[in-house]
């Protein structure tokens, strides 16, 4: 663990190792003392003429009187805000779509229009009967009677056995 503390203060640990080690440092007082001692050594080596007393005990004592700070984790809060904004936008879009569709269906299925459609039905029937007469008159041009329509372009061929025999006899003579 001491070697990990040494590597941690040099910024030479991987993220998962850091997370684990900081958890252990939270629980282990002697580990925190090692952290403090290693930092003191570094400061002495860098600036031996500016070493002053250890303030951490005094700061710790004053912190014990302070209420514990709890802050939202900004990146988590940002993610939550983004997710909330996205879901709110999706919900609004869905509500808008449902309202629009209900308005459309409402217009089509309104009682007035149903009445009008019923009133138009006899007219439609009249049109249908007229069109039937027209179709009957021009049935030969109808696509459903293609064969009769195509008869104009065909030659009718018949076969008679007696006629064929006579023809053969005449040929042998």
């Amino acid at each position: 663990m001491k070697q990990e503390i040494s590597a941690l203060m040099d910024g030479e640990l991987f993220e998962d190792e850091v997370e684990s080690l900081l958890g252990r440092l939270k629980r282990d007082t002697s580990a925190r003392k090692n952290w403090a001692a290693y930092h003191l050594i570094g400061d002495v080596l860098r600036q031996p003429e500016h070493i002053h007393c250890d303030l951490s005990a005094k700061v710790r004592a004053r912190l014990s009187e302070e209420p514990t700070v709890i802050a939202p984790r900004w990146h988590v809060a940002k993610q939550r805000m983004r997710a909330f904004a996205m879901s709110a936008a999706a919900s609004l879009a869905a509500i808008g779509l449902v309202v629009w569709m209900s308005l459309q269906i409402g217009n089509e299925a309104s009682p007035q229009l149903t009445f009008q459609q019923n009133a138009l039905r006899p007219v439609n029937m009249q049109i249908q009967s007229k069109s039937n007469d027209y179709l009957m008159a021009h049935q030969e041009f109808s696509p459903s009677t293609d064969m009769s329509g195509g008869a104009y372009y065909m030659r009718t061929v018949s076969y008679s056995e007696s006629a064929m025999q006579e023809k053969n006899k005449a040929g042998t003579k």
Partner: protein, 199 residues
């Protein structure tokens, strides 16, 4: 994970209610912040109080810290403002001839301007700590001493040290740890005996 990312992890832990994580940040930055504040507040006892106050202010303000700048840059700004406010409250003038921001302060290492006015007790303890660390360093085997020096004084990464020392990165990691631990072993009795006093 880089040093700044480790700081960010610690900050997030504090923001989730972990006071021990803030303790680690105090251990790490107290001397740097103290040096910075002593530029403004010459009296060592006052400078110590202002440094403490700056850490408490930072702790209170941490819920609003979003990690848009490095933690130490943010902390140093708080330190400068706390020092200036202290001078205003005691009707003394903050130094204006050498204005600097937090990042410049990090790079500012001029011994003459960072001089502290120490009490005899504090000075003695500081000298003892420095003496033990330097003596321990001299007693280290050459490879351990070089690895620790390249890391702490030159600020090289493990990979760069491995390249300089022509050895694997794992060996560098091990050497730096062994060097620190050997020095810390000599330092612990001093730190323990002075517990509850100045150290």
């Amino acid at each position: 994970m880089s040093d700044k990312e480790v700081d960010q992890q610690l900050v997030e832990r504090v923001q989730r209610g972990d006071k021990h994580a803030f303790d680690l940040l105090v251990s790490k930055y107290q001397r740097k912040l103290g040096r910075l504040i002593s530029r403004f507040v010459k009296d060592s006892a006052e400078a110590e109080d202002v440094t403490q106050e700056a850490f408490i202010k930072a702790y209170r303000a941490l819920p609003g810290f979003r990690g848009e700048s490095a933690f130490y840059t943010w902390l140093y700004r708080i330190g400068i403002n706390t020092a200036k406010n202290h001078l205003l409250s005691t009707k003394r003038r903050a130094p204006t001839s050498t204005q600097f921001d937090a990042e410049e302060a990090e790079a500012f290492e001029e011994a003459g301007l960072l001089r502290e006015v120490s009490t005899p007790e504090n000075e003695l303890m500081s000298k003892q700590v420095v003496g033990v660390v330097q003596a321990s360093l001299q007693q280290l085997p050459e490879d351990l001493r070089s690895a620790l020096t390249l890391r702490e004084i030159e600020g090289l990464s493990y990979e760069e040290i491995a390249s300089v020392m022509n050895c694997p990165v794992g060996t560098v990691r091990s050497r730096i740890f062994r060097a620190r631990e050997a020095v810390a072993e000599n330092l612990r009795p001093l730190l323990e005996t002075s517990k509850g006093k100045r150290w």
